[in-house]
Symmetry: C2
Subunit: 398 residues, 2 copies
């Protein structure tokens, strides 16, 4: 079997070995913030915005604009699905409730649409040019949520029952397939050469997404996963589609491949930063904010970055953690574990340096991402907005 390149864009390496990074570097301010415990009411790790113009940008306005431009086109696309798939998809997106009544659901953070719209502007085009890219990426992202929730047996998403819980596994498979197809159709029906180039990048990102889910499932059955394997998986699951979002808007706006590749590089590392923060929130996040249970990822035995970094660090806490997790894997009592038993594991992860390393990793990936942007020629305002979004991704609480 010949392995093939799995990502949409080349990238540089941001990750240091866990032990290197917990030991050294400019983690001062970040490290201090990083020791807060969200479940105790404090904030999650933050990255201080630099001296850039990003401070002048209101991120919520940016996200809102992306949402406002994208949602009507997204809804019109979903309305094209044959019944009952249109209804099931509308439930998934939070536009209606399980009984079919209109709802004002939580449609997610909408980082991808904002990136796609800015991507078009980075190429000097109007924001509207990026809308088909935003819609396509949202459709593919939600295809993967529908299928992953079913494969992972996740019963809740965005504070609501998942589609397979409400409408059954067949509808989750079928509507996922339909959203996947629709995402590609939205691009291809533009009928231009640029649309073909964008579609090619989208399909490569989708393949990476699927590879990442395959790795995620495989890792569940393994006792040990290396930090490198975890980063590769997270690059596939999260980095590839953010890379696509922030590059195919530009492609639709006429950008050449080199520019698109560099923007993709920004998005890929931003995705890794995003995922590192997600992994921190998955253990120490505030359930009120995340909509998930306390110690959510530990309950699901996820081999997320803090866990694999802690296991790789060595030392007494790391070894004790390894023993506990190995015993947990065989335990029949796991499902009835108390809060305290998860808290013990979380404390060991922290003691072994897994939390601090992951916090540092979010910062490192953020830095690499922002540095990639510097090599692309674009309006200052657009650059500042992209940096502001990158900052937002690593300071969010949900």
């Amino acid at each position: 079997m010949t392995p093939e390149p799995k990502r949409a864009a080349p990238r540089t390496t941001a990750s240091a070995a866990p032990t290197d990074s917990t030991a050294g570097g400019a983690g001062g301010a970040l490290g201090a913030a990083g020791t807060g415990t969200a479940t105790e009411g404090e904030t999650v790790p933050t990255v201080p915005p630099g001296e850039s113009t990003a401070e002048m940008v209101d991120v919520s306005t940016l996200l809102e604009r992306g949402r406002e431009l994208t949602t009507p086109v997204l809804r019109a696309a979903v309305d094209r699905l044959a019944p009952p798939m249109d209804t099931v998809a509308a439930y998934h997106f939070g536009w209606i409730d399980a009984e079919g009544n209109p709802a004002d659901g939580d449609g997610g953070k909408a980082v991808r649409p904002a990136l796609a719209v800015l991507s078009a502007q980075a190429a000097g085009a109007a924001p509207e040019v990026g809308v088909p890219a935003a819609v396509a990426v949202e459709l593919v992202h939600n295809f993967s949520l529908l299928h992953d929730d079913l494969m992972d047996g996740d019963e809740q998403r965005r504070h609501r029952d998942t589609v397979w819980k409400v409408h059954g596994p067949s509808q989750a498979i079928l509507v996922g397939d339909a959203l996947f197809a629709l995402g590609n159709e939205v691009l291809l029906e533009l009928g231009t050469v640029q649309a073909g180039r964008a579609a090619r990048r989208l399909i490569a990102a989708t393949r990476a997404l699927i590879d990442g889910q395959a790795q995620d499932i495989a890792f569940e059955h393994r006792e040990r996963v290396t930090v490198e394997e975890c980063l590769e998986m997270e690059g596939n699951k999260t980095g590839a589609l953010l890379a696509c979002a922030v590059s195919i808007g530009a492609v639709l706006g006429g950008a050449d491949d080199r520019t698109a590749d560099t923007l993709a590089d920004f998005g890929y590392h931003l995705g890794l930063a995003f995922q590192a923060v997600d992994d921190l929130l998955g253990i120490w996040g505030d359930p009120q904010a995340t909509g998930k249970q306390t110690w959510s990822d530990l309950r699901q035995r996820k081999k997320s970055l803090p866990v694999v970094a802690a296991l790789a660090a060595g030392g007494p806490a790391s070894e004790r953690l390894g023993e506990l997790l190995a015993a947990d894997a065989k335990s029949s009592d796991f499902d009835s574990f108390s809060e305290e038993e998860f808290a013990i594991r979380a404390a060991l992860i922290e003691e072994a340096g897994g939390r601090e390393w992951t916090t540092g990793e979010a910062r490192r990936q953020h830095t690499v991402a922002v540095r990639a942007l510097e090599t692309v020629d674009m309006p200052d305002r657009v650059r500042a907005e992209l940096v502001a979004l990158a900052d937002f991704v690593v300071v969010r609480k949900r």
Copy 2:
């Protein structure tokens, strides 16, 4: 919700109402063959080849050539999947057994690859030009098999356990997704304008495929389905992808949209003919040839063409059948029904005219398909080969 056109190509109407068609027309020779019962060792309905040059074409050579050109490229594409998806896909295609040992499996009839290769030749291009089209269509077709088998709970395909039975539901979902993505990638990575046009047709056909599966699932829960609804569903599930196969090879070969649409029209009606024969085989097929149980579709309560035509025909047998099927839907003993109970239902379908009508429908769709071909300018040899394939589709026993 705004409905959208669900098919890849315009088409003419071949179907008469069941009662009209069983009464009239040139069904003589066909009707006679159609009364044979495959399970009693006789042949399934046949369509006599016309006076065309099709008689001089060896269909098995045509199918073999399509398979030989396509299989190495298909295997190379599947090899690009990350483990364990490559292995699961190889099992599905019959290249390895459940233990991972090389197998010489039944890869299906390979009608689609043969059509895609001929499609390129219809546009005056070399057969090889159609190979990416053939591979793309095979990948998308097999994506739908993987997902449909899981949704329908089908445990056997091509005389072997289905993927979800052997590798679990998650792998069936995931590898299905991967084949879907790969099919689009194979076309888009050609990077030409023609490839973009072909990809757009492929994604439209895939959307139709998904619509058809949605209809198929919805019909299972309904007491009555009209003949028109059944034909629309079968057009989506079978017609759209055959239409795609026989048109996108030509698109890659430089054909204009009008030519591609007409070839798609041929493929769409050929698909409906194919499905009518499949529906006959699903009730009266020889289990040895089909690899399915006796009365397979009746055991699965499928509302296939012979059933809906029989129910629509009226008269004593039709009414008795309706009563029996309505009672079956509520029966808790259905799973332990004897051969004889299914034989009674099959006899009623036949007595009500459902078998004869479906046989006639296969012939009518075949005629419309072949007539569409006459309006496309292409080498005589290629036309004869397409007609020979069309004839094969309606005389097959599996």
